[in-house]
Subunit: 219 residues, 2 copies
Amino acid sequence: MTEMSSNSGSGGGATGRIGIGLELDATHMKILDVLRENGRISVSALAERVGISRANAYTRFEALRADGVIRRFTAEIDHQRAGLGIVALIFVTVRQQMWRQFRAQLAQMPEVEYCAITTGQHDAMIQVRMADVAEVHAMVTERLANIPAVKATETVFILDEVLRRPYVLPGDRGRGGAPRRPAPSPEPEQTQAQAQGLPLGKMRFVGAAEGRAALRDES
Amino acid sequence: MTEMSSNSGSGGGATGRIGIGLELDATHMKILDVLRENGRISVSALAERVGISRANAYTRFEALRADGVIRRFTAEIDHQRAGLGIVALIFVTVRQQMWRQFRAQLAQMPEVEYCAITTGQHDAMIQVRMADVAEVHAMVTERLANIPAVKATETVFILDEVLRRPYVLPGDRGRGGAPRRPAPSPEPEQTQAQAQGLPLGKMRFVGAAEGRAALRDES
DNA sequence: GTTGAAATTAGTACGAA
DNA sequence: TTCGTACTAATTTCAAC
């Protein structure tokens, strides 16, 4: 059911382990960078574009795959053309201690493209793709509403998908003209924001709703 | 800049044209279904799994690609392993008549994985992936806040990504054990929800904020 | 980690059904 | 349209360096 192993892995915290398995160097990142744009490129061509030998490319490619850094290869389609032109976000409030049931029900819904548990006013966000608006309505009122774990929902329609990248890599910052913020302080461990004590102004961070501490133990 | 041509295409409405170009039959859908799970499969193996000849598979594969139904092929990676384990959603309120500038600024931010314009309380939702929480803070307060088009933001962290599918296909419904709702009425044009006048109960639909009607003309 | 050569497989171009 | 086959080009594997 396309379950993600990212954080759910060993029931650990949200940050999880890092650096276990492969140690990714700059070459690995280059490979991921090429594969992001062209997932069907031959390993030979990949080697050439990255600037390494073919044998090396095969080794690294296999290692990335075997180690789970690369989960799978897939296509990116035009949903409009495929017949599902309507996208909606459904923010769900989940009844406490029913997370397990909520997740189980989600696995039964193939029309769900993405689901994440969030902090803030709601507990989870679901992204669905449907043929028309009425189907979204039916989905929310007939299917989601019937799940006992669902306490309430709030649906929002997506008017336009401005951009979607397959994934982001650490090296992306500063490439697309994004001015990498200068590091005047010699402590790289402390962020600029922390060091400067910037006023947040109209910016708002929304923490987790009450009673969601046991979230990870339940699921 | 990975701009999506879905709805933005010819400046049309959110629903857009459908059925222009290739007429997708069941075989096309099967191909998309296989490619979703294994984007690197050889066309020969694809032909075998779909049940058509190699020549036919090549023709259809090329047609899907040339027609834009398949946009590109890409990899799916473990973001944790790649060094960007923190995901956040930033809901943005955009100053009216500054949509064009907002979109231009977005293109300059490679750390943004997804951005969609939505109905509801906010105007847009941005998904970013960063190495740590402080970086999200810096991104919101230093970069987003400096964009004149951004009136306000609300940030929410993703605690767990429960599921992510590459894409959804029309034929998915009813496959994963999802009980396809029965169609007792012989009018397939009218949805069940419309016909039954279901009470929405705790379900809420959130329309677009005022003054966003001219959204599509600006961008 | 690299290069080169053998074996396999992929991609193309036909004619036939 | 779709299929089957033959032909050409490329890729992958495996060896030695």
